[in-house]
Amino acid sequence: MEFSNYLSITDILVTNERIPCKFLHDLPKMGFLDPSAADDDLKAGTNAEIPIWLAESLYTRRPPLVNVELPKTYKDSYREILNADACTVDLHKLGQHFYELGCYVAKHDIKGEVGSTLINTLRQRFRMLLSASVATDSISAMQPLSASERLQAAAAARTERNLASWLQRGDCPLTTANMVANHRKRKRAEMEMF
């Protein structure tokens, strides 16, 4: 999950995601940030969803111009589901950059519950990566995985394939007579080793 390089496409995509913010000050001429506002100016107290890259820079001002709030997928109700059994959740549907976005969001969660949910989710879902890497039906095993989980599972599947092909390569030690008599057995043995 190396996504914090300057030229990282993942990070660019993630920071482009919109998160709910509350504006703390009147901002003249900034009304366009709130699609529901008719006014040219943005009033203090307005709630609007803005991209993370903008929210971060408005938040780090002194004094901060916005208060960052939790997107709904990181709120109580979703956290409860994830903490109960993260493996039942389709993270690809919930937000394919669940962890990456979560890291940005977690900083604004004073109680640290988002952070521990992320960690808990990752720990629980590790076994999904394990089984996706050896699944015969890899498409459906990969489906509920987030973007970064898919990459990890795909890399693990590549390792599995390389290992399997290494194990299968080489001379089959059975003789010709056996090969004819036990064609099926031989084929299975080949699949399993050497």
């Binding site: 992320l118 990566l129 970064s148 290494w166």
Partner: protein
Amino acid sequence: MDPYEIEFIGENRIISIIPNFTYDKIYLICGEFGPFRAGLPMNVPLWLALMLKQKQKCRIVPPDWMDMDALENIKEEEKRSRFFTKMPNEHYMVEAKLILGAASEDVPNASEIKTVIKDIWDIRMSKLRTSMDALMKSGGGYGRLDHLTMMEINSVKPLLPAAMDSLLRIQMKSKKTTPANLNVSSFSQSGGSSQNI
């Protein structure tokens, strides 16, 4: 790493052959070997043994551990233990695959031996998957993995280190405030007190 690279490393192991020709000592960079005396056992690196075998210049002497009784014991022990047991050598799978592949006629009970080695490998691989899951669940910051061979360790790359990296990254980026449980887990039985699950 690619399995073939690990095979390449494993090919440096010394094994015993019986040459069918007579020759003086040979001075290789990796050491001196010989003299070759037809019919007398001698030690050479595995890669050289395989090369001579291909040229039909030798018989390979199966390593001591490539024996049904010994392997059955290892298999039982591996089944019984919840930890990884010590394998007869660090590249047992490479040795088995190469010797049984190129010289199965030199190994008594080759096909039974192949099956039991494959059984041991399967037991260990499934144990490895369970251990990985346990390690991630119980901490995911550190693990001890004695007695795993290089080929086995390689089979969990990049999955396990990448998952541990992700975990650490989330911990760092989200600045977790709740105290973490001890980031320690263990794959093995030997060693001190610091690795209880």
